[in-house]
Symmetry: C2
Subunit: 500 residues, 2 copies
Amino acid sequence: METLAAYKAHLREIGKLNSALTLLQWDQRTCLPPKGHEARAETIGKLAKIVFELGTADKLGRYLEKLEAEDDLSLEDRASVRVVGKDYRRHKAIPPSLFERFAVARSRSESAWEKARAASDFQSFQPHLEEIVDFARRFAEYYGYKENPYDALIEGFEPGMTGREVRGVMAPLRERLVPFLKQLLAEGARPDTSFLRGSFSADRQRALSLRALGAMGYDFAAGRLDTAVHPFTSSTGPNDVRVTTRFVENDLLSSLYSSLHEGGHALYDQGISPELQWTGLDEGASFGIHESQSRLWENMIGRSLPFWTFFRPILTQVFPELSSPSADALWRAVNVVEPSLIRVEADEVTYNLHIMLRFELEDGLINGKIAVADLPDLWRDAMGRYLGVTPTDDASGVLQDVHWSAGLFGYFPSYMLGNLYAAQLFATLQEETPDLDARIARGDFALLRGWLQDRVHHFGKVHEPKELVKRVTGKEPDSAYFLSYITRKYSEVYRLAERG
Amino acid sequence: METLAAYKAHLREIGKLNSALTLLQWDQRTCLPPKGHEARAETIGKLAKIVFELGTADKLGRYLEKLEAEDDLSLEDRASVRVVGKDYRRHKAIPPSLFERFAVARSRSESAWEKARAASDFQSFQPHLEEIVDFARRFAEYYGYKENPYDALIEGFEPGMTGREVRGVMAPLRERLVPFLKQLLAEGARPDTSFLRGSFSADRQRALSLRALGAMGYDFAAGRLDTAVHPFTSSTGPNDVRVTTRFVENDLLSSLYSSLHEGGHALYDQGISPELQWTGLDEGASFGIHESQSRLWENMIGRSLPFWTFFRPILTQVFPELSSPSADALWRAVNVVEPSLIRVEADEVTYNLHIMLRFELEDGLINGKIAVADLPDLWRDAMGRYLGVTPTDDASGVLQDVHWSAGLFGYFPSYMLGNLYAAQLFATLQEETPDLDARIARGDFALLRGWLQDRVHHFGKVHEPKELVKRVTGKEPDSAYFLSYITRKYSEVYRLAERG
């Protein structure tokens, strides 16, 4: 197996340079002084070019061809060949000259989007978005698909998943969530959140985030917490996984929940088997599976009553001014439901409705059934139907997300799938762990973390998302778990049963 | 001039990757979590290999050959060809297999040194050092030299300088400093330093360092201050120059003077002409010239009476407990002279004596006149003669510096030359600026900084160190300036005149 050794050595070279790239990008968003950005972009560009060249090298193509014909590869080696081979072919599928033109158009489109959003002026962005949609459609043709060109784009974020499947899990959500939201707002008892008003220093917010991350079992000897305008997690391998958060002075929950969310991502990356480092498998199974881990910690744990039973004394230690509300009151307050215009501020009940809207528009755009010019109206219309709120300008409507300006079509479904996977995994975990709530209530997360690591994190990209979910839960991805979780929890938070 | 364009493009590629390497190394010393070091070393190794390959590419050799024959290159392009060509030939001179063996031996030697120093056990380190000295002697033969193999090594740090010249400027220093030190200690009035005792929080020390760096004119939009065990400055270009310091709770001066020192290095790197970035000339003229800038700010400015006239109100603002001592008392206290065993803790008067000792031993080692086994005794003997103190163990003697374990022979002279260059540059600056003291006393550093930038920083590596000193001061490097500065200043600090 000389080929296998040469193949692995080649992936290690790529992996090391990717680690360098990741660090350069982490630094760009956390440490880099303002004047350093121009030169940094050039350095990143140069390194990215080397990585791209190594990832599309003919040599790699030959290794893949030979290894794909091998029968006796280990599970991991077969997975590596699958994952690397898929990326190789997707990269090779796009003619370099087309990709170069796209890179230029994307850069212009991103700047145009920034200006358009600031001025709430969709028209100035429209021609750029038309160009980008056109590129995305051409890419889909080059990548290939069976049924729907949109599938070829979803594949880049959620391997093995199709638009038809997303639509399948989405239908019951729409059917159930839209009326449930109306019921909550009409009949429910909105939690009191008044005691969360105040001014909270960044230092103390930071201390609270550190306590939360520590309790989760985030390994600070293999990571660190920094601040960033848009919080993110960055990993160069299981031994260096960095989280970021941001501190909003009058919003204590913003940094805490962002830390729990990023902490969930980070536990995933810290939990990937070290043996997978630089093999092409040292990442999460998909964007959706990664998001399932962040949402599980942020919402299913972090917004649960047992969590607040455990965390309330820590909160009041750091913020003595918050000593009055009980664990129950805190739990209700962090679960307030508020239909809003902005996806990233959405609560658990409304979040997926934001995604549905985007999914439908993307699907239409890529299939040529929706014209870019019609997006603002379609957006307003869907917001009204799903959430009962209507943006009065495009900045808080169709221009709010960066994704489309950068050509990231097919990404949004992963946000929704993350919530569904999380609920499905959590249901299995609860079934297997009758005393889970009691453990959480005393801050004992070891079993929970170990379970997630053994069943999910450990494998990196070895299994495709659907396969992974089925291995762990015994079932195909199904939105029933999420619906049951949401309706049960929010009926309690909003005291629907008591009232009904 | 197609060759020139291709040559420059090649250097830009190297430059960008070197910027990535610099950032990886900065992060390694400031941010990297403990468990991340192993993978980081591999990433750095991979990137360093690519940079080395590009820097020794045959293509580059052909460009250099053609450009060296060109008559009409600009001053900067000629300098680039000189500097890059020299590095190219030095790298090519060493057979790759020898260099690889050296890299392995160095890595072993560095670990052995760490253990040996911790145990104060020279014998366990001796065979490693013998091996490293042997490599250094072979390298010197490969590099080539006219008179003294040691010259070939000095050249790597101080281009155009020889052992003979270093000996030339050193002789008057030894002759004058050894008796002057004795006189100071015997007849001088040791300054009172008792008021500097106390406990000073890292936060306040940091605030003070930020004030000092701000006053110097360090551009925080093109840099930042972090902490590191061994403070250093890191530059990926004039728009991203980062300084570090460390906070010792009971030693306020340690962080302040380390910040002034690194700030001096940083002003140099921020002041290099942006047009030189990634041309091979975007560094200081030499290690010695670089050190001249750090020592000038640390000592000639930062340990002057005018500086303390300006800085005392800032100090007492941050540390109200230090309100009693006058500017004069503070100035004297920061200039206390104390012969000590450790170079990095040495004051201005004794520092160069530490270097002399190392210079003489290095010269002997590389010329085969001194055996490694004799170093501990020779060290003790010289310490007694020059400084009047004798180490009782090797940890505070011959094992104190990391340099030799890493094969860095020829580096030490630059530390001394830095002090001499600084004094010579400063003498010229004073001559041209009669009101310099008054400006410093009111915290107006703009003219001083501008002068250094115009005369020194701006040029990067365009001029060799001796040439640069001559351009600015009109004279060859001469130790008379330093001697005059030291004897005048310390006679005052120690009130020799008043007493004598």
